[in-house]
Symmetry: C2
Subunit: 104 residues, 2 copies
DNA sequence: CTTATAATTCGATAACTATCGAATTATTCC
DNA sequence: GGAATAATTCGATAGTTATCGAATTATAAG
């Protein structure tokens, strides 16, 4: 991945609260995925009510959390689609891999 | 690694030019290391004249480059020791590993 | 259509960042 | 000690970011 894009990903993860948010989403996704595998469904479709969940976990205003979600999306780390009143949110594994293997 | 420290590392890598700088240092270190292994010396002692080298590679003022070095050091990614008029610079592998495996 | 809930956008503010050139400090060599 | 080179610090500036509360928009349910 070229520097510009990678730097953008790092920037998205450079705020402590936003990093926590991303971890929250990531962990939740992993959980869903293992459940899905157990049920023989294959992969995780994404987590529901991600925004609501995040609001419950992070001590920040809703507008700030909304902002952080946007940043993570903008960097390419997650994809969110609205489903009725709430979010369906997925982690983009390729991007996470890019971070992991950005060196070596 | 806890969020606070990890976020700091990401912040250090979130600037495109600084990311380039880090890669430069990192690649150079890897090169030295493979040479050292060939010579039977074990590991890389660090790269000499890192600052000077960086000045030649990045199109930025010396003061800005100095600032970027400081940021990388401050985040824990590299260690620089002055050697006479120049730098001896090393990558802290543990930190790079932490970044790589920050998830999964 | 009204009410309730969820999420976004807006406007403001305070704090932080990248960058530069100039001045300064540290080191080496003559 | 003086000159040359290397790196740091200083002060300024323009741009970005995190955060909030209030106002707004979107959706669902009665």
């Amino acid at each position: 991945m070229e520097s510009k894009r990678l730097a953008k990903v790092f920037k998205a993860l450079s705020n402590e609260r936003r990093l926590e948010l991303f971890r929250l989403i990531y962990d939740q996704c992993k959980l869903e995925e293992s459940r899905a595998t157990q049920d023989g469904k294959g992969c995780c479709e994404g987590i529901e009510k991600a925004f609501t969940m995040a609001c419950g976990c992070l001590n920040l205003s809703r507008s700030t959390i909304s902002h952080h979600f946007k940043e993570l999306q903008n960097a390419g780390l997650i994809t969110c689609t609205r489903q009725g009143q709430t979010y369906m949110c997925q982690v983009n594994e390729d991007y996470v891999d890019a971070v992991r293997s950005f060196l070596g």
